[in-house]
Amino acid sequence: MAEAPIIELTNIVKSFGPVSVLKGVNLRAYPGKVTALVGDNGAGKSTLIKGLAGVQPYDSGEVRFAGEAVHLHSPREASRLGIEVVYQDLALCDNLDIVQNMFLGREELGFGTFDEGLMEREAAETLRQLSVRTVSSVRQKVSSLSGGQRQTVAIARSVLKKAKVVVLDEPTAALGVAQTEQVLELVGRLAEQGVAVILISHNLADVFAVADYISVLYLGQMVASVKAEDTNRDDIVGYITGSKTYNGVQA
């Protein structure tokens, strides 16, 4: 491996009561690369990334960030390291506008009060940098946005603070063709900027369109981690459904 992983999860375990959801999972993500995380419903994908976000800490296992062992027990800690997550159920406040959502939890202050101008400019710049074309005003309430626009805002929110790792949980699940295209373009642009992207998706066409690496989770175990160029759709489908086992070198 040429480059060092920025995220390295080793032997992650997580259970909810008697239900063991993650049974010793390993995952790596590299700067400037898109790592797709695939697996069937209930495989544990969301659980795996919730731990990475500090929302739902793991029971055991090692998390290394840029080579250093870290403990992620709150969203703030993850965010301080530069790990941002865009959730499956988009975590946006409908009653707030785009700027307020993008800066939620990390507002810019001056003299103890909000510096709205500064936040507005940074929000607009971030959207512009991501070539977002679909929102007309950064002061629009999120309640008035379409699904794709919400996804865009959620992604832009993660980019805003120069995130090093961005995790996207099924960002295209609810989107139409054109909006999916836009979001995938956005994913590619994130990686171009040197961000390590972890993309969760059920859509293998999307996965093969943008991913550099593909990791397959099956019933709480990582059954394959491969380079996208070294594999194909059928193999991945086989790993996901458990009808095929991977016996190559882990990428």
């Binding site: 975590a91 409908d94 909000f114 709205e116 101008g117 309430k141 943008v210």
Partner: protein, 432 residues
């Protein structure tokens, strides 16, 4: 390497150029354009369900015209001053409740909190001979303690606020009875407290107050604009600042002028703005400042809008909820203070009946019971609407029952407006 990945080529394709250019033009901040553009954008928002206090303001105007026609006394200076002091207690309680209603919570004990703390106050002063300021401090701290108690059970333990505060609603009535004694009644003997509702500022001070309001409004507007300019983002056209100042000047000017006329009935002239008015305005201003410009305020809206989103963004949701209940109970104490100043005495039923009117004030003013939407000013306007109904119907000598029926009808109307506008604000999406 990857199929269909975005081109990494440095030379932008024609479409890219187009995209960047239109992006720069398209992402606005909603600040651009003339007064007419802004007015159009505002109308647009209203049509999409962001009505704010508009229905309440409309209701206030319609009711006022109606009562002015029906009763010759309604439009007199004396009744106007009456109306303001009648409304003040409710305005205060409504503003207190906004802090928890914004979270989608409720405090049914806010009324009896005001009553109980005033029982404590009056007994400390009348029976135990406490200095009134010390007694007031103890009353306020009791309010803080009550809010802390409610906040613990709601935010920490996770019991619905409806249940916790319903329990306190009953329990505090009992405590009031224990403190005051059944049938007991204490006169308020502190002139300073009585003067809140019953004394007026000198006439010049009323005008000075208006000048201060205008200056503060102009100052914050210019300060905000300077800040935005420094950040390099557009400002709304300056005409809007003048329009806003003009509106304050006209409304405030009429109010102060009316209150500056002699409204006495005996030989002693009575004039000037009641002291309760500047106190209420100061709290309204401070509360609005906190809600609009500080993290605590923003997080109240965020938690009310989507608590899970706020939590994931790193907001300490428990702390925000907890603090909001403390603010509510503490402001409820001040509403109690207004109340005993007006009534002049405290009995064991103090604050029992007012809480639902307080909730009604907030809802009528456009604060959403679903949380996340509304402002302090909305509750204040809603309280004025309810006070106008009480005041006007009182002048018409209608049976007291009519008052409740009309207020109830207005409340249901307001809640309907809230629900309908919520659906509209959500557009065709199924999400909230």
């Amino acid at each position: 390497m990857t199929i269909g990945a975005p081109s990494q080529a440095p030379d932008p394709t024609p479409t890219d150029v187009l995209a960047t250019r239109s992006t720069a033009e398209l992402i606005g901040s909603g600040q651009e354009g003339t007064v007419m553009d802004q007015a159009r954008a505002y109308l647009q928002r209203v049509r999409h369900g962001e009505m704010g206090a508009l229905p309440a303001i409309g209701g206030f105007v319609v009711l006022s015209i109606m009562f002015a026609i029906l009763s010759p006394f309604f439009l007199t200076e004396r009744n106007f001053a009456n109306l303001l002091t009648q409304a003040a207690t409710l305005v205060m309680l409504g503003m207190a409740l906004v802090f928890v209603i914004l979270l989608g919570e409720i405090d049914l004990s806010a009324g009896v909190t005001s009553g109980l703390t005033m029982c404590i106050f009056v007994v400390l002063v009348n029976v135990n001979g406490f200095n009134w300021m010390l007694a007031l401090l103890i009353a306020l701290l009791t309010g803080v303690a009550i809010g802390t108690f409610i906040g613990f059970f709601v935010a920490r333990v996770g019991i619905p606020s409806f249940v916790v505060t319903l329990g306190l609603f009953l329990g505090f009535q009992g405590l009031e009875l224990i403190i005051i004694g059944s049938g007991g009644l204490y006169r308020v003997q502190t002139p300073e407290i009585l003067s809140i509702m019953n004394a007026n500022m000198p006439v010049w001070a009323g005008w000075a107050m208006l000048a201060v309001i205008l200056a503060v409004s102009l100052g914050t507007s210019l300060w905000d604009r300077a800040r935005r300019t420094r950040a390099g983002v557009p400002n709304r056209t300056i005409a809007l600042v003048w329009i806003k100042l003009g509106v304050i000047l006209v409304i405030g000017g009429v109010v102060v002028a009316l209150l500056s006329n002699d409204r006495g009935t005996g030989f002693k002239p009575v004039s000037g703005v009641p002291i309760v008015v500047p106190i209420t305005l100061a709290i309204l201003w401070a509360g609005t400042f906190v809600l609009d410009r500080t993290k605590f305020g923003r997080y109240i809206y965020a938690v009310g809008g989507n608590a899970e989103a706020a939590r994931r963004a790193g907001v300490k949701v428990v702390l925000i909820r907890w603090t909001a209940f403390i603010v509510c109970s503490t402001l409820a104490v001040i509403s109690g203070l207004f109340s005993i100043s007006k009534v002049g005495s405290v009995d064991a039923a103090a604050g029992r009946d007012i809480v639902l009117s307080g909730v009604a004030a907030a809802v009528v003013g456009g604060v959403s019971l679903f949380g996340g939407r509304g402002r302090l000013l909305h509750a204040a306007i809603g309280a004025l609407v309810i006070a106008v109904i009480t005041n006007g119907l009182g002048l018409l000598n209608l049976p007291a029952g009519v008052n409740y029926v009309v207020t109830g009808a207005v409340l249901i109307l307001a809640a309907t407006v809230d629900a309908v506008s919520r659906v509209r604000a959500g557009g065709s999406l199924t999400r909230r």
